[in-house]
Amino acid sequence: MVAFLRYLINGISLGSVYAIIALGYSMVYGIAKMLNFAHGDIIMIGAYIVYCVMVYLTMPPLIAVLCAVVVCTILGIVIERLAYKPLRQSASLAVLITAIGVSYFLQNAAMLIWGSNPKVFSSVFALGSLRLLNGELVISSETLLTIGANIVIMVALTLFTGKTKMGKAMRAVSEDKGAAELMGINVNRTISMTFAIGSALAAIAGALLCSTTNPNLVPTTGSMPGIKAFTAAVFGGIGSIPGALIGGLLLGVIEILGKAYISTELSDALVFAVLIIVLLFKPAGLLGKPMREKV
Protein backbone atom coordinates (compact mmCIF):
# COMPACT_ATOMS: atom_id res chain seq x y z
CA MET A 1 0.00 0.00 0.00
CA VAL A 2 2.80 2.38 0.94
CA ALA A 3 4.66 1.35 -2.20
CA PHE A 4 1.57 2.07 -4.26
CA LEU A 5 1.21 5.51 -2.68
CA ARG A 6 4.85 6.24 -3.39
CA TYR A 7 4.46 5.26 -7.05
CA LEU A 8 1.30 7.33 -7.27
CA ILE A 9 3.05 10.41 -5.91
CA ASN A 10 6.02 9.90 -8.24
CA GLY A 11 3.54 9.53 -11.08
CA ILE A 12 1.81 12.76 -10.16
CA SER A 13 5.18 14.49 -9.98
CA LEU A 14 6.25 13.23 -13.42
CA GLY A 15 2.76 14.00 -14.69
CA SER A 16 3.09 17.57 -13.44
CA VAL A 17 6.22 18.01 -15.55
CA TYR A 18 4.40 16.57 -18.57
CA ALA A 19 1.47 18.89 -17.88
CA ILE A 20 3.69 21.98 -17.85
CA ILE A 21 5.31 20.95 -21.15
CA ALA A 22 1.94 19.98 -22.61
CA LEU A 23 0.62 23.45 -21.85
CA GLY A 24 3.26 24.95 -24.13
CA TYR A 25 2.35 22.52 -26.93
CA SER A 26 -1.32 23.04 -26.41
CA MET A 27 -1.26 26.85 -26.39
CA VAL A 28 0.92 27.05 -29.49
CA TYR A 29 -1.27 24.52 -31.27
CA GLY A 30 -4.43 26.33 -30.29
CA ILE A 31 -3.21 29.64 -31.65
CA ALA A 32 -0.80 28.90 -34.47
CA LYS A 33 -2.39 25.53 -35.46
CA MET A 34 1.07 24.02 -35.67
CA LEU A 35 2.79 21.09 -33.98
CA ASN A 36 5.91 22.70 -32.56
CA PHE A 37 8.26 19.72 -32.48
CA ALA A 38 11.09 21.96 -31.31
CA HIS A 39 9.31 22.47 -27.98
CA GLY A 40 11.02 19.45 -26.40
CA ASP A 41 14.41 20.85 -27.30
CA ILE A 42 13.66 24.16 -25.64
CA ILE A 43 13.22 22.15 -22.43
CA MET A 44 16.71 20.74 -22.98
CA ILE A 45 18.21 24.20 -23.59
CA GLY A 46 16.49 25.46 -20.43
CA ALA A 47 17.96 22.63 -18.39
CA TYR A 48 21.46 23.32 -19.76
CA ILE A 49 21.17 27.00 -18.88
CA VAL A 50 20.14 26.12 -15.33
CA TYR A 51 23.07 23.70 -15.11
CA CYS A 52 25.59 26.23 -16.42
CA VAL A 53 24.45 29.10 -14.21
CA MET A 54 24.49 26.87 -11.14
CA VAL A 55 27.78 25.10 -11.80
CA TYR A 56 29.93 27.64 -13.65
CA LEU A 57 28.61 30.85 -12.11
CA THR A 58 27.71 29.21 -8.77
CA MET A 59 24.50 31.16 -8.50
CA PRO A 60 21.59 30.07 -6.32
CA PRO A 61 19.02 27.81 -8.01
CA LEU A 62 16.27 30.39 -8.16
CA ILE A 63 18.41 32.80 -10.17
CA ALA A 64 19.49 29.93 -12.43
CA VAL A 65 15.88 29.09 -13.19
CA LEU A 66 15.12 32.76 -13.82
CA CYS A 67 18.03 32.99 -16.25
CA ALA A 68 16.78 29.89 -18.06
CA VAL A 69 13.29 31.36 -18.29
CA VAL A 70 14.65 34.58 -19.80
CA VAL A 71 16.93 32.79 -22.29
CA CYS A 72 14.22 30.36 -23.39
CA THR A 73 11.64 33.11 -23.76
CA ILE A 74 13.96 35.05 -26.05
CA LEU A 75 14.85 31.86 -27.90
CA GLY A 76 11.17 31.04 -28.40
CA ILE A 77 10.40 34.49 -29.79
CA VAL A 78 13.44 34.45 -32.09
CA ILE A 79 12.61 30.99 -33.45
CA GLU A 80 9.04 32.05 -34.11
CA ARG A 81 10.18 35.22 -35.93
CA LEU A 82 12.85 33.58 -38.08
CA ALA A 83 11.47 30.15 -38.85
CA TYR A 84 7.70 30.05 -38.35
CA LYS A 85 6.44 33.53 -39.15
CA PRO A 86 7.41 33.48 -42.85
CA LEU A 87 5.34 30.29 -43.19
CA ARG A 88 2.19 31.58 -41.50
CA GLN A 89 0.11 31.11 -44.66
CA SER A 90 1.71 27.84 -45.83
CA ALA A 91 0.51 24.27 -45.59
CA SER A 92 0.72 22.90 -42.05
CA LEU A 93 3.09 20.13 -43.11
CA ALA A 94 5.64 22.67 -44.34
CA VAL A 95 5.60 24.30 -40.90
CA LEU A 96 5.88 20.89 -39.25
CA ILE A 97 9.03 20.06 -41.22
CA THR A 98 10.49 23.49 -40.41
CA ALA A 99 9.84 22.79 -36.73
CA ILE A 100 11.69 19.50 -37.11
CA GLY A 101 14.56 21.41 -38.72
CA VAL A 102 14.63 23.77 -35.72
CA SER A 103 14.61 20.76 -33.41
CA TYR A 104 17.65 19.23 -35.22
CA PHE A 105 19.32 22.62 -35.09
CA LEU A 106 18.87 23.04 -31.33
CA GLN A 107 20.00 19.49 -30.60
CA ASN A 108 23.13 19.79 -32.69
CA ALA A 109 23.93 23.26 -31.42
CA ALA A 110 23.68 21.90 -27.86
CA MET A 111 25.90 18.99 -28.90
CA LEU A 112 28.55 21.42 -30.15
CA ILE A 113 28.36 23.71 -27.14
CA TRP A 114 28.04 21.19 -24.31
CA GLY A 115 29.23 17.95 -25.90
CA SER A 116 27.52 14.57 -25.82
CA ASN A 117 28.75 13.51 -22.38
CA PRO A 118 25.90 13.65 -19.89
CA LYS A 119 25.98 16.52 -17.42
CA VAL A 120 24.93 15.18 -14.06
CA PHE A 121 22.25 17.46 -12.81
CA SER A 122 22.28 17.98 -9.09
CA SER A 123 18.89 18.83 -7.74
CA VAL A 124 17.76 22.41 -8.08
CA PHE A 125 16.00 22.48 -4.75
CA ALA A 126 17.39 20.18 -2.09
CA LEU A 127 15.48 21.18 1.01
CA GLY A 128 15.10 17.81 2.66
CA SER A 129 12.00 15.69 2.47
CA LEU A 130 8.60 15.16 3.97
CA ARG A 131 8.04 12.00 6.02
CA LEU A 132 4.54 10.58 6.41
CA LEU A 133 3.05 7.40 7.91
CA ASN A 134 5.75 6.99 10.58
CA GLY A 135 8.51 7.70 8.12
CA GLU A 136 7.50 4.94 5.71
CA LEU A 137 6.39 7.30 2.98
CA VAL A 138 9.16 9.73 2.07
CA ILE A 139 8.28 12.52 -0.32
CA SER A 140 11.21 14.55 -1.56
CA SER A 141 11.07 18.31 -1.71
CA GLU A 142 11.56 18.24 -5.50
CA THR A 143 8.42 16.17 -5.88
CA LEU A 144 6.41 18.56 -3.73
CA LEU A 145 7.88 21.52 -5.55
CA THR A 146 7.03 20.07 -8.96
CA ILE A 147 3.44 19.45 -7.97
CA GLY A 148 3.23 22.90 -6.37
CA ALA A 149 4.73 24.61 -9.42
CA ASN A 150 2.27 22.82 -11.64
CA ILE A 151 -0.71 24.01 -9.58
CA VAL A 152 0.57 27.61 -9.47
CA ILE A 153 1.19 27.66 -13.24
CA MET A 154 -2.23 26.18 -14.01
CA VAL A 155 -4.05 28.71 -11.84
CA ALA A 156 -1.98 31.61 -13.17
CA LEU A 157 -2.56 30.62 -16.79
CA THR A 158 -6.28 30.10 -16.29
CA LEU A 159 -6.52 33.58 -14.75
CA PHE A 160 -4.31 35.01 -17.49
CA THR A 161 -6.36 33.65 -20.39
CA GLY A 162 -9.63 34.41 -18.66
CA LYS A 163 -9.10 37.86 -17.18
CA THR A 164 -6.34 39.81 -18.92
CA LYS A 165 -6.60 41.61 -22.23
CA MET A 166 -3.72 39.63 -23.74
CA GLY A 167 -5.25 36.35 -22.60
CA LYS A 168 -8.57 37.25 -24.17
CA ALA A 169 -6.75 38.22 -27.35
CA MET A 170 -5.14 34.78 -27.37
CA ARG A 171 -8.48 33.05 -27.07
CA ALA A 172 -9.90 35.22 -29.82
CA VAL A 173 -7.00 34.46 -32.16
CA SER A 174 -7.27 30.74 -31.51
CA GLU A 175 -10.98 30.83 -32.31
CA ASP A 176 -10.83 32.88 -35.51
CA LYS A 177 -7.68 34.59 -36.67
CA GLY A 178 -9.36 36.70 -39.35
CA ALA A 179 -12.16 37.96 -37.13
CA ALA A 180 -9.68 38.73 -34.34
CA GLU A 181 -7.61 40.82 -36.72
CA LEU A 182 -10.73 42.74 -37.79
CA MET A 183 -11.44 43.52 -34.14
CA GLY A 184 -8.07 45.24 -33.89
CA ILE A 185 -6.08 42.48 -32.24
CA ASN A 186 -2.42 42.39 -33.23
CA VAL A 187 -2.25 38.75 -34.31
CA ASN A 188 1.52 38.65 -34.78
CA ARG A 189 2.15 40.02 -31.32
CA THR A 190 -0.34 37.58 -29.79
CA ILE A 191 1.37 34.64 -31.47
CA SER A 192 4.81 35.85 -30.31
CA MET A 193 3.42 36.16 -26.79
CA THR A 194 2.13 32.58 -26.93
CA PHE A 195 5.53 31.30 -27.99
CA ALA A 196 7.14 33.36 -25.22
CA ILE A 197 4.87 31.86 -22.55
CA GLY A 198 5.25 28.34 -23.92
CA SER A 199 9.03 28.62 -23.95
CA ALA A 200 9.19 30.11 -20.46
CA LEU A 201 7.14 27.15 -19.21
CA ALA A 202 9.49 24.81 -21.07
CA ALA A 203 12.46 26.29 -19.18
CA ILE A 204 10.76 25.64 -15.83
CA ALA A 205 9.80 22.14 -16.97
CA GLY A 206 13.42 21.50 -17.97
CA ALA A 207 14.71 22.39 -14.51
CA LEU A 208 12.03 20.27 -12.82
CA LEU A 209 12.47 17.30 -15.16
CA CYS A 210 16.22 17.16 -14.63
CA SER A 211 16.01 17.54 -10.87
CA THR A 212 13.37 14.82 -10.44
CA THR A 213 13.36 11.95 -12.93
CA ASN A 214 16.06 12.64 -15.48
CA PRO A 215 19.34 13.72 -13.83
CA ASN A 216 21.61 12.90 -16.79
CA LEU A 217 21.40 15.86 -19.11
CA VAL A 218 22.27 15.18 -22.79
CA PRO A 219 21.31 17.07 -25.98
CA THR A 220 18.47 14.63 -26.69
CA THR A 221 17.01 14.84 -23.18
CA GLY A 222 14.06 16.88 -24.38
CA SER A 223 12.79 14.75 -27.24
CA MET A 224 11.07 11.87 -25.44
CA PRO A 225 9.43 14.05 -22.74
CA GLY A 226 8.44 16.36 -25.61
CA ILE A 227 6.69 13.55 -27.46
CA LYS A 228 5.05 12.31 -24.25
CA ALA A 229 3.85 15.80 -23.39
CA PHE A 230 2.48 16.21 -26.89
CA THR A 231 0.64 12.92 -26.36
CA ALA A 232 -0.63 14.29 -23.05
CA ALA A 233 -1.91 17.42 -24.77
CA VAL A 234 -3.80 15.35 -27.34
CA PHE A 235 -5.00 13.00 -24.63
CA GLY A 236 -6.63 15.82 -22.68
CA GLY A 237 -7.90 17.63 -25.77
CA ILE A 238 -5.39 19.85 -27.50
CA GLY A 239 -5.91 23.56 -26.98
CA SER A 240 -7.44 23.22 -23.52
CA ILE A 241 -5.59 24.16 -20.29
CA PRO A 242 -7.42 21.77 -17.93
CA GLY A 243 -7.07 19.15 -20.66
CA ALA A 244 -3.28 19.52 -20.58
CA LEU A 245 -3.34 19.14 -16.79
CA ILE A 246 -5.49 16.01 -16.80
CA GLY A 247 -3.67 14.51 -19.77
CA GLY A 248 -0.27 15.15 -18.24
CA LEU A 249 -1.17 13.77 -14.81
CA LEU A 250 -2.83 10.63 -16.22
CA LEU A 251 0.10 9.99 -18.51
CA GLY A 252 2.63 10.35 -15.69
CA VAL A 253 0.69 8.09 -13.34
CA ILE A 254 0.15 5.41 -16.01
CA GLU A 255 3.82 5.49 -16.92
CA ILE A 256 5.12 5.14 -13.36
CA LEU A 257 2.56 2.49 -12.34
CA GLY A 258 3.22 0.62 -15.59
CA LYS A 259 6.95 0.67 -14.89
CA ALA A 260 6.42 -0.54 -11.33
CA TYR A 261 3.84 -3.26 -11.85
CA ILE A 262 4.05 -4.43 -15.47
CA SER A 263 7.40 -3.93 -17.18
CA THR A 264 9.94 -1.18 -17.61
CA GLU A 265 10.25 -1.91 -21.31
CA LEU A 266 6.52 -1.87 -21.91
CA SER A 267 5.57 1.23 -19.92
CA ASP A 268 5.90 3.48 -22.99
CA ALA A 269 3.78 1.08 -25.03
CA LEU A 270 1.17 1.15 -22.28
CA VAL A 271 1.05 4.95 -22.29
CA PHE A 272 0.51 5.07 -26.03
CA ALA A 273 -2.01 2.22 -25.97
CA VAL A 274 -4.14 4.13 -23.46
CA LEU A 275 -3.93 7.19 -25.72
CA ILE A 276 -5.16 5.17 -28.71
CA ILE A 277 -8.06 3.69 -26.74
CA VAL A 278 -9.12 7.12 -25.45
CA LEU A 279 -8.96 8.66 -28.92
CA LEU A 280 -11.06 5.85 -30.37
CA PHE A 281 -13.89 6.62 -27.98
CA LYS A 282 -13.35 10.37 -27.66
CA PRO A 283 -11.77 11.41 -30.98
CA ALA A 284 -11.03 14.96 -29.79
CA GLY A 285 -9.42 13.97 -26.47
CA LEU A 286 -10.91 13.93 -23.00
CA LEU A 287 -11.85 17.62 -22.78
CA GLY A 288 -11.59 18.62 -26.43
CA LYS A 289 -14.42 20.12 -28.37
CA PRO A 290 -15.76 17.66 -30.94
CA MET A 291 -15.02 18.68 -34.51
CA ARG A 292 -18.08 19.43 -36.55
CA GLU A 293 -18.07 18.80 -40.24
CA LYS A 294 -19.67 21.32 -42.55
CA VAL A 295 -20.71 20.40 -46.06
Binding site: F272, I276, G285, M291
Partner: protein
Protein backbone atom coordinates in the same frame (compact mmCIF):
# COMPACT_ATOMS: atom_id res chain seq x y z
CA UNK B 1 0.69 1.93 -81.46
CA UNK B 2 -0.29 4.80 -79.21
CA UNK B 3 0.38 4.51 -75.50
CA UNK B 4 -1.52 6.28 -72.76
CA UNK B 5 0.25 9.26 -71.21
CA UNK B 6 0.46 7.62 -67.79
CA UNK B 7 2.06 4.53 -69.36
CA UNK B 8 4.66 6.66 -71.12
CA UNK B 9 5.40 8.50 -67.85
CA UNK B 10 5.77 5.22 -65.97
CA UNK B 11 8.07 3.77 -68.63
CA UNK B 12 10.20 6.94 -68.53
CA UNK B 13 10.43 6.59 -64.76
CA UNK B 14 11.65 2.99 -64.99
CA UNK B 15 14.10 4.09 -67.70
CA UNK B 16 15.59 6.84 -65.54
CA UNK B 17 15.93 4.51 -62.53
CA UNK B 18 17.62 1.84 -64.68
CA UNK B 19 19.95 4.47 -66.17
CA UNK B 20 20.85 5.77 -62.68
CA UNK B 21 21.57 2.22 -61.55
CA UNK B 22 23.81 1.51 -64.57
CA UNK B 23 25.74 4.75 -64.00
CA UNK B 24 26.19 3.95 -60.29
CA UNK B 25 27.39 0.41 -61.14
CA UNK B 26 29.85 1.81 -63.71
CA UNK B 27 31.17 4.30 -61.16
CA UNK B 28 31.61 1.53 -58.59
CA UNK B 29 33.36 -0.87 -60.98
CA UNK B 30 35.66 1.83 -62.35
CA UNK B 31 36.61 2.68 -58.78
CA UNK B 32 35.73 6.36 -59.03
CA UNK B 33 33.17 6.23 -56.23
CA UNK B 34 34.45 6.68 -52.69
CA UNK B 35 34.11 3.82 -50.19
CA UNK B 36 31.87 5.89 -47.97
CA UNK B 37 29.50 6.65 -50.82
CA UNK B 38 29.47 2.97 -51.88
CA UNK B 39 28.38 2.06 -48.39
CA UNK B 40 25.49 4.50 -48.77
CA UNK B 41 24.07 2.73 -51.84
CA UNK B 42 21.83 0.23 -50.03
CA UNK B 43 20.56 2.83 -47.50
CA UNK B 44 19.76 5.12 -50.44
CA UNK B 45 17.66 2.38 -52.06
CA UNK B 46 15.96 1.65 -48.74
CA UNK B 47 15.13 5.30 -48.08
CA UNK B 48 13.87 5.82 -51.63
CA UNK B 49 11.43 2.93 -51.14
CA UNK B 50 10.49 4.28 -47.70
CA UNK B 51 9.88 7.78 -49.07
CA UNK B 52 7.83 6.59 -52.05
CA UNK B 53 5.72 4.34 -49.83
CA UNK B 54 5.15 7.09 -47.27
CA UNK B 55 4.22 9.44 -50.08
CA UNK B 56 1.45 7.02 -50.96
CA UNK B 57 -0.09 7.68 -47.52
CA UNK B 58 0.81 11.34 -47.03
CA UNK B 59 0.57 12.60 -50.59
CA UNK B 60 -1.85 10.37 -52.46
CA UNK B 61 -4.14 9.39 -49.61
CA UNK B 62 -3.68 12.66 -47.71
CA UNK B 63 -3.19 11.31 -44.18
CA UNK B 64 -0.19 12.38 -42.11
CA UNK B 65 1.62 9.31 -40.78
CA UNK B 66 4.33 9.73 -38.14
CA UNK B 67 4.98 6.05 -37.51
CA UNK B 68 6.30 4.78 -40.81
CA UNK B 69 9.53 3.51 -39.25
CA UNK B 70 7.42 1.05 -37.23
CA UNK B 71 6.63 -0.93 -40.38
CA UNK B 72 10.28 -0.74 -41.39
CA UNK B 73 11.17 -2.20 -37.99
CA UNK B 74 8.67 -5.06 -38.39
CA UNK B 75 10.10 -5.82 -41.83
CA UNK B 76 13.70 -5.63 -40.68
CA UNK B 77 13.26 -8.05 -37.79
CA UNK B 78 11.10 -10.44 -39.84
CA UNK B 79 13.68 -10.38 -42.62
CA UNK B 80 16.56 -11.11 -40.26
CA UNK B 81 14.70 -13.98 -38.58
CA UNK B 82 13.46 -15.54 -41.83
CA UNK B 83 16.87 -15.34 -43.46
CA UNK B 84 18.62 -16.95 -40.48
CA UNK B 85 15.90 -19.57 -40.15
CA UNK B 86 16.11 -20.53 -43.85
CA UNK B 87 19.86 -20.97 -43.49
CA UNK B 88 19.61 -22.90 -40.24
CA UNK B 89 16.61 -25.10 -40.91
CA UNK B 90 16.82 -25.74 -44.65
CA UNK B 91 20.51 -25.07 -45.33
CA UNK B 92 19.53 -22.62 -48.04
CA UNK B 93 22.96 -21.40 -49.08
CA UNK B 94 21.77 -19.30 -52.02
CA UNK B 95 21.86 -15.74 -50.68
CA UNK B 96 19.76 -14.25 -53.46
CA UNK B 97 16.94 -16.68 -52.81
CA UNK B 98 17.19 -16.08 -49.05
CA UNK B 99 17.12 -12.34 -49.56
CA UNK B 100 14.07 -12.70 -51.79
CA UNK B 101 12.18 -14.78 -49.21
CA UNK B 102 13.25 -12.44 -46.40
CA UNK B 103 11.99 -9.38 -48.26
CA UNK B 104 8.70 -11.05 -49.16
CA UNK B 105 8.20 -12.18 -45.56
CA UNK B 106 9.08 -8.70 -44.27
CA UNK B 107 6.53 -7.18 -46.63
CA UNK B 108 3.81 -9.66 -45.66
CA UNK B 109 4.22 -9.30 -41.91
CA UNK B 110 4.36 -5.50 -42.21
CA UNK B 111 1.18 -5.63 -44.33
CA UNK B 112 -0.58 -7.62 -41.58
CA UNK B 113 0.61 -5.01 -39.06
CA UNK B 114 -0.69 -2.36 -41.46
CA UNK B 115 -4.16 -3.93 -41.45
CA UNK B 116 -4.22 -4.22 -37.65
CA UNK B 117 -3.06 -0.63 -37.16
CA UNK B 118 -5.09 0.76 -40.05
CA UNK B 119 -8.41 -0.35 -38.57
CA UNK B 120 -8.26 1.97 -35.54
CA UNK B 121 -6.09 4.67 -37.14
CA UNK B 122 -8.27 5.34 -40.16
CA UNK B 123 -11.30 6.04 -37.98
CA UNK B 124 -9.63 9.28 -36.90
CA UNK B 125 -8.97 12.51 -38.80
CA UNK B 126 -6.22 15.05 -39.22
CA UNK B 127 -3.76 15.66 -36.41
CA UNK B 128 -5.37 13.02 -34.21
CA UNK B 129 -4.69 10.44 -36.87
CA UNK B 130 -1.08 11.64 -36.98
CA UNK B 131 -0.58 11.29 -33.23
CA UNK B 132 -2.03 7.77 -33.24
CA UNK B 133 0.36 6.67 -35.98
CA UNK B 134 3.15 8.11 -33.82
CA UNK B 135 1.80 6.12 -30.87
CA UNK B 136 1.75 2.89 -32.88
CA UNK B 137 5.30 3.50 -34.05
CA UNK B 138 6.42 3.78 -30.42
CA UNK B 139 4.36 0.75 -29.38
CA UNK B 140 6.00 -1.37 -32.09
CA UNK B 141 9.41 -0.22 -30.86
CA UNK B 142 8.64 -1.09 -27.22
CA UNK B 143 7.13 -4.47 -28.08
CA UNK B 144 10.02 -5.44 -30.38
CA UNK B 145 12.35 -4.52 -27.50
CA UNK B 146 10.70 -7.32 -25.49
CA UNK B 147 10.88 -10.05 -28.15
CA UNK B 148 13.41 -12.87 -28.07
CA UNK B 149 13.94 -15.31 -30.95
CA UNK B 150 16.36 -18.19 -31.06
CA UNK B 151 17.20 -21.06 -33.39
CA UNK B 152 17.98 -24.52 -32.02
CA UNK B 153 18.55 -27.48 -34.35
CA UNK B 154 16.42 -25.95 -37.08
CA UNK B 155 13.55 -25.00 -34.77
CA UNK B 156 12.56 -21.44 -34.10
CA UNK B 157 11.81 -20.42 -30.50
CA UNK B 158 10.00 -17.25 -29.47
CA UNK B 159 9.58 -15.71 -26.06
CA UNK B 160 8.21 -12.49 -24.72
CA UNK B 161 10.08 -10.52 -22.09
CA UNK B 162 12.41 -13.34 -21.06
CA UNK B 163 15.63 -14.53 -22.69
CA UNK B 164 15.32 -18.14 -21.48
CA UNK B 165 15.04 -19.98 -24.78
CA UNK B 166 17.34 -22.70 -26.11
CA UNK B 167 19.84 -22.45 -28.93
CA UNK B 168 21.52 -19.58 -30.67
CA UNK B 169 19.87 -16.19 -30.21
CA UNK B 170 18.73 -14.36 -33.34
CA UNK B 171 16.93 -11.48 -31.71
CA UNK B 172 17.52 -10.74 -28.06
CA UNK B 173 15.25 -7.97 -26.89
CA UNK B 174 16.82 -4.55 -26.37
CA UNK B 175 20.21 -5.84 -27.58
CA UNK B 176 18.70 -6.39 -31.05
CA UNK B 177 19.71 -8.95 -33.65
CA UNK B 178 22.84 -11.05 -33.26
CA UNK B 179 25.36 -11.97 -35.97
CA UNK B 180 22.99 -11.95 -38.92
CA UNK B 181 24.60 -12.72 -42.28
CA UNK B 182 24.65 -9.48 -44.27
CA UNK B 183 23.22 -10.52 -47.61
CA UNK B 184 21.67 -7.27 -48.86
CA UNK B 185 23.06 -6.11 -52.19
CA UNK B 186 22.79 -2.93 -54.23
CA UNK B 187 21.19 -4.70 -57.25
CA UNK B 188 18.54 -6.10 -54.89
CA UNK B 189 17.83 -2.56 -53.70
CA UNK B 190 17.53 -1.44 -57.28
CA UNK B 191 15.03 -4.21 -58.07
CA UNK B 192 13.06 -3.24 -54.97
CA UNK B 193 12.88 0.38 -56.17
CA UNK B 194 11.59 -0.79 -59.57
CA UNK B 195 9.02 -3.03 -57.87
CA UNK B 196 7.88 -0.15 -55.63
CA UNK B 197 7.56 2.21 -58.57
CA UNK B 198 5.65 -0.44 -60.52
CA UNK B 199 3.16 -0.93 -57.68
CA UNK B 200 2.75 2.73 -56.77
CA UNK B 201 2.56 4.16 -60.30
CA UNK B 202 0.07 1.50 -61.37
CA UNK B 203 -2.00 2.10 -58.27
CA UNK B 204 -2.09 5.87 -58.77
CA UNK B 205 -3.25 5.56 -62.35
CA UNK B 206 -5.87 2.90 -61.69
CA UNK B 207 -9.51 3.18 -60.74
CA UNK B 208 -8.56 2.54 -57.10
CA UNK B 209 -5.92 5.27 -57.26
CA UNK B 210 -8.46 7.78 -58.52
CA UNK B 211 -10.80 6.74 -55.72
CA UNK B 212 -7.98 7.25 -53.18
CA UNK B 213 -7.24 10.72 -54.54
CA UNK B 214 -10.94 11.59 -54.61
CA UNK B 215 -11.26 10.61 -50.94
CA UNK B 216 -8.25 12.81 -50.17
CA UNK B 217 -9.56 15.86 -52.02
CA UNK B 218 -13.05 15.73 -50.62
CA UNK B 219 -14.11 12.93 -48.40
CA UNK B 220 -17.76 13.86 -48.30
CA UNK B 221 -18.08 14.31 -52.05
CA UNK B 222 -16.29 11.02 -52.64
CA UNK B 223 -18.63 9.23 -50.25
CA UNK B 224 -21.61 10.87 -51.95
CA UNK B 225 -20.67 9.38 -55.32
CA UNK B 226 -20.34 5.94 -53.79
CA UNK B 227 -16.61 5.64 -53.09
CA UNK B 228 -15.95 3.43 -50.09
CA UNK B 229 -13.53 5.88 -48.46
CA UNK B 230 -12.38 3.62 -45.62
CA UNK B 231 -11.65 0.76 -48.01
CA UNK B 232 -9.50 2.88 -50.32
CA UNK B 233 -7.68 4.65 -47.50
CA UNK B 234 -6.99 1.21 -46.02
CA UNK B 235 -5.69 -0.01 -49.36
CA UNK B 236 -3.18 2.85 -49.58
CA UNK B 237 -2.16 2.40 -45.93
CA UNK B 238 -1.58 -1.37 -46.18
CA UNK B 239 0.32 -1.19 -49.48
CA UNK B 240 2.49 1.52 -47.99
CA UNK B 241 3.12 -0.61 -44.90
CA UNK B 242 4.01 -3.61 -47.06
CA UNK B 243 6.55 -1.64 -49.11
CA UNK B 244 8.06 -0.18 -45.93
CA UNK B 245 8.36 -3.71 -44.54
CA UNK B 246 10.20 -4.85 -47.66
CA UNK B 247 12.55 -1.87 -47.45
CA UNK B 248 13.06 -2.68 -43.76
CA UNK B 249 14.02 -6.28 -44.56
CA UNK B 250 16.63 -5.07 -47.03
CA UNK B 251 17.89 -2.52 -44.51
CA UNK B 252 18.13 -5.08 -41.71
CA UNK B 253 20.06 -7.56 -43.83
CA UNK B 254 22.62 -4.85 -44.55
CA UNK B 255 23.79 -4.99 -40.91
CA UNK B 256 24.96 -7.92 -38.84
CA UNK B 257 23.39 -6.43 -35.73
CA UNK B 258 20.80 -3.75 -35.26
CA UNK B 259 18.39 -2.77 -32.50
CA UNK B 260 14.79 -1.60 -32.42
CA UNK B 261 16.08 1.83 -31.38
CA UNK B 262 17.19 2.31 -35.01
CA UNK B 263 13.56 2.63 -36.02
CA UNK B 264 12.37 5.21 -33.57
CA UNK B 265 10.39 8.37 -34.13
CA UNK B 266 13.38 10.18 -35.66
CA UNK B 267 13.50 7.70 -38.53
CA UNK B 268 9.82 8.22 -39.30
CA UNK B 269 10.44 11.94 -39.30
CA UNK B 270 13.49 11.59 -41.51
CA UNK B 271 11.40 9.83 -44.16
CA UNK B 272 8.65 12.42 -43.79
CA UNK B 273 11.25 15.12 -44.43
CA UNK B 274 12.15 13.39 -47.72
CA UNK B 275 8.50 13.33 -48.74
CA UNK B 276 7.78 16.94 -47.87
CA UNK B 277 10.99 18.32 -49.35
CA UNK B 278 10.45 16.32 -52.53
CA UNK B 279 6.93 17.68 -52.84
CA UNK B 280 3.93 16.01 -51.29
CA UNK B 281 2.29 13.64 -53.75
CA UNK B 282 5.21 13.90 -56.16
CA UNK B 283 6.81 10.46 -56.51
CA UNK B 284 9.87 11.71 -58.36
CA UNK B 285 10.39 14.40 -55.79
CA UNK B 286 10.49 11.73 -53.07
CA UNK B 287 13.08 9.70 -54.96
CA UNK B 288 15.39 12.65 -55.57
CA UNK B 289 15.00 14.06 -52.04
CA UNK B 290 15.63 10.66 -50.43
CA UNK B 291 18.75 10.05 -52.50
CA UNK B 292 20.18 13.55 -52.03
CA UNK B 293 19.43 13.85 -48.32
CA UNK B 294 20.82 10.40 -47.56
CA UNK B 295 24.17 11.36 -49.06
CA UNK B 296 24.06 14.98 -47.87
CA UNK B 297 25.59 14.29 -44.42
CA UNK B 298 28.32 12.39 -46.30
CA UNK B 299 28.90 15.30 -48.65
CA UNK B 300 28.96 17.72 -45.72
CA UNK B 301 31.86 15.81 -44.18
CA UNK B 302 34.06 18.85 -44.88
CA UNK B 303 32.16 20.64 -42.12
CA UNK B 304 33.06 17.75 -39.74
CA UNK B 305 31.47 18.52 -36.38
CA UNK B 306 29.17 21.10 -37.83
CA UNK B 307 27.64 18.91 -40.50
CA UNK B 308 24.40 18.04 -38.73
CA UNK B 309 24.04 21.69 -37.81
CA UNK B 310 24.50 22.63 -41.46
CA UNK B 311 22.01 19.90 -42.39
CA UNK B 312 19.43 21.45 -40.05
CA UNK B 313 20.04 24.92 -41.45
CA UNK B 314 19.77 23.63 -45.05
CA UNK B 315 16.49 21.95 -44.13
CA UNK B 316 15.02 25.13 -42.61
CA UNK B 317 16.24 27.33 -45.47
CA UNK B 318 14.84 24.99 -48.13
CA UNK B 319 11.46 24.94 -46.39
CA UNK B 320 11.48 28.73 -46.11
CA UNK B 321 12.61 29.21 -49.70
CA UNK B 322 9.99 26.88 -51.16
CA UNK B 323 7.09 27.89 -48.96
CA UNK B 324 7.43 31.48 -47.89
CA UNK B 325 4.95 33.58 -49.92
CA UNK B 326 7.42 36.48 -50.18
CA UNK B 327 10.24 34.38 -51.59
CA UNK B 328 7.91 32.36 -53.79
CA UNK B 329 6.45 35.54 -55.27
CA UNK B 330 9.98 36.68 -56.00
CA UNK B 331 10.83 33.40 -57.75
CA UNK B 332 7.62 33.51 -59.78
CA UNK B 333 8.36 37.06 -60.93
CA UNK B 334 11.92 36.09 -61.84
CA UNK B 335 10.68 33.11 -63.84
CA UNK B 336 8.17 35.27 -65.65
CA UNK B 337 10.81 37.87 -66.47
CA UNK B 338 13.03 35.16 -67.90
CA UNK B 339 10.19 33.88 -70.03
CA UNK B 340 9.56 37.41 -71.20
CA UNK B 341 6.03 37.60 -69.81
CA UNK B 342 4.76 40.37 -67.59
CA UNK B 343 4.79 40.10 -63.81
CA UNK B 344 1.68 39.38 -61.74
CA UNK B 345 1.18 35.77 -62.65
CA UNK B 346 -1.60 34.13 -60.65
CA UNK B 347 -0.31 32.91 -57.28
CA UNK B 348 -0.40 29.22 -56.70
CA UNK B 349 -1.41 28.21 -53.20
CA UNK B 350 0.07 25.51 -51.01
CA UNK B 351 2.33 22.64 -51.90
CA UNK B 352 1.70 21.10 -55.30
CA UNK B 353 -0.20 17.85 -55.46
CA UNK B 354 -0.38 15.23 -58.19
Amino acid sequence: MKLKRSTVDALTSYGIVIAAFVIAQLLISSGSMSRALQGQMIPICVYIVMAVSLNLVVGISGELSLGHAGFMSVGAFTGAIVSTWLLGAFNMENTTLRLLFAIIAGGLVAAVAGVLIGIPVLRLRGDYLAIVTLAFGEIIRSVVNCLYFSLDAGRLYVSFNSPDIPGKMIVSGPAGTKAIKTIATFPAGFVLILFTLFIVLNLINSRSGRAIKASRDNRIAAEAVGVNVTKYKMMAFVISAMLAGMAGALYGLNFSTFTAAKFKFDTSILVLVFVVLGGIGNIWGSIVAAALLTVLPELLRAFSDYRMLVYAIVLILVMLATNSPVLRGLFARLANLLRGKGADAPEKGGISRV
